[in-house]
């Protein structure tokens, strides 16, 4: 197995070697072998509303949790074959590096340092997040550039505040900052109308809005003034496993591009379209290439639905968060979500 641990950890190698002798076990094969041997996918998640959180019955629900289930459906034709491993912000990267989880779908922003210093391959971007603006509808603003002269609630010294300053300067419009140390105070100021604009990552704004006394009185502006591409991560040195994760996510996107949904997927069995037939495994080919059940993509859609369904169920209009798709719309409808061709 190639070295996948940061340089500093090599100092610990003698300990690891000693422990290996004590344990007397050979190194396990690649992740895919381990996953197949244990018949479950260990999926690292992070508690967040809409992302992944246990419901009243202790079932993990959310956008990230559904992608974990999609991987299990692709491999085992059973979305329940997931071991959800709750991680924390501090501990999530250790969990993936140490092999405690097979894949990390925990709201991680893809960055170059994370990829190279932590030894992680990022999969397809599942969520284009970024800093947005929440304003009262009464303000009658449709675009962020119309916010000239607005009062903006921020917390001092944060990246959020810097992004706001840059955005207003670049667009040559003015704003008045209302600064408070704590998010609770910021929120109180916004609810009381002491500022016109609340700014955070857009997904966080959707969560905040759903908790306001009258969520429908506020609107999330379409602009994103920072980049927070959220992607799943796997360890270096597991190419086959990485491809399965990647193509599982792309399969949900491709399904939406084809217009195939959870409820309608069975109706496509007789489809004359050769690309749909290949995708659903009616005509063989792709399953062999990825070394999975020929109907793996069908199984994914049948289990969790297409990308749009996953989004709307957890973040969007079918959820309490009512997060508009915005950049997370398909490319063919003006967003950024796209799948490479399945052929």
């Amino acid at each position: 197995m190639p070295d996948r641990k940061p340089v500093s950890l090599r100092l610990l190698a003698p300990f690891a070697a000693a422990l290996a002798l004590i344990a007397g076990t050979a190194q396990a094969g690649p992740t895919l072998d381990a996953v197949k041997a244990r018949s479950t996918v260990k999926c690292g998640v992070l508690n967040s509303p809409g992302g992944s959180a246990p419901d009243a019955n202790g079932e993990w629900r959310g956008f990230n949790a559904d992608f974990c289930r999609a991987i299990a459906a692709a491999l085992f034709n059973d979305p329940r074959k997931v071991e959800f491993v709750a991680t924390t912000r501090q501990q999530r990267f250790t969990a993936i590096q140490s092999g405690e989880v097979d894949v990390l779908i925990a709201g991680v922003t893809q960055t170059v340092t994370r990829a190279l210093q932590l030894g992680l391959h990022f999969g397809p971007i599942v969520l284009h997040d970024g800093q947005g603006f929440l304003v009262p509808k009464a303000l009658k603003v449709a675009k962020a550039t119309e916010l000239d002269g607005a009062t903006v609630c921020t917390m001092p010294g944060t990246t959020t505040e810097l992004n706001v300053t840059d955005f207003f300067r670049l667009n040559k419009i003015s704003y008045k900052p209302v600064v408070a140390e704590e998010f609770r105070e910021v929120l109180a100021a916004f609810t009381a109308g002491r500022c016109d604009v609340l700014t955070q990552d857009a997904s966080a704004l959707a969560i905040t809005r759903s908790q306001l006394p009258k969520p429908d009185d506020y609107v999330l502006l379409p602009e994103r003034i920072s980049k927070e591409p959220i992607a799943p991560a796997v360890r270096f040195g597991d190419d086959q496993w990485q491809e399965i994760v990647n193509w599982t996510i792309w399969a949900t996107i491709q399904a939406e591009e084809f217009g195939i949904a959870r409820d309608t997927v069975d109706g496509f069995a007789g489809s004359p379209d050769p690309s749909v037939r290949r995708f659903l495994g009616i005509d063989p080919g792709i399953g062999e290439a990825i070394r999975l059940d020929p109907r793996w993509a069908y199984n994914i859609v049948k289990a969790v639905g297409n990308y749009g369904e996953i989004f709307e169920r957890n973040y969007g209009k079918d959820s309490p968060l009512k997060f508009a798709r915005g950049p997370n719309e398909l490319v063919q409808r003006g967003g950024l979500i796209v799948s490479p061709p399945f052929r």
């Binding site: 610990l12 076990t25 396990a28 509303p49 924390t88 140490s98």
Partner: protein
Amino acid sequence: MTAVRLAHLGGGRAWLRRCVGTPLNAALTAAALGLLALALPPLLRWAVLDAVWSGPPSACRGAAGACWAFIAAKLRFILVGLYPPAAAWRAVAAAGLLGGLVLLSAHPRLWRPWLLGAWAAGLAATLWLLGGGGGLEPVASRLWGGLPLTLLLTAGGLVAGFPLGVALALARRSRRRTPRLLATVVIETVRGLPLIVILYVASLVFPLMLPGGISVDKLLRAGAGMTLFAAAYIAEAVRAALQAVPRGQAEAALSLGLRPTLVLLLVVLPQGLKMAIPSLVTIAIGFFQDTSLVAVIGVFDLLNTTRAATLDSEWLGFHDEAYSFVAAVYFVVCAAASHYGLWLERRLNPERRR
């Protein structure tokens, strides 16, 4: 304690005299009553009068008071976490078993050797109930959570930490240099580190030291770290108590021809441990509260299940209700333990009673 006992002796009238007897006391009483008058009505209005007791999340939107419907909907999750609903009775039974063991151990009259056996059997039964096997459906440790887990971490850490702590205390008092040095290094290192650092080492550094493919259960790692932490503090409490046993006791026993091991087991330790009990109870209460730190490594103890319950997008934003509820649970347990400690102290040291 003196104040309360005097009040008991003198009845309500004496108590009243203590409250308003001197100008200073009268002023303090008035100030306290004033604060209560300010704080209580809004609290009552929030917690009782304007509260929503049942219904869906929509029933709570716009309500002025607390949304206890949230607690009602999430009660099972807060108490047993991710534990499979069909097997929830096992988690409840495990919590009951641990609680029963604590109650059983409460009275000094029952402090007999068989109690140690009862604890060993009780902990084994708890692990069996939670983990399954032997006729019960296996439940992975990552699904354990809530109150049973908090109790298990507390009881397991203390029960395993106690013998280790006593051994460390004895080693530190040893005449031989090597055990003394080793024990001192262990105790001072562990006591010099915050528990959260020990947990991070157990959950972040340790797994990276293991070769690929081998992983030690996260809960076990956390439990081992906490046991070590408890042992270091217990060791110091026990050592201090052993120090307080008059030297003449050991000398008298030796001069009667008792072997040194027996002197320790029959004379010094029984007297020393008795004196260590008040500080051990304090350590136990602190340790119970410290278990909530396992949340930082993603273990679902009682506090973390409560936090997770507030992140369900169906029920967002009910932090006040959630934390009020869990604070009440922690308070009841800790207050009961602390009163028990006071009672025990009086009972064990009747000569000190005033």
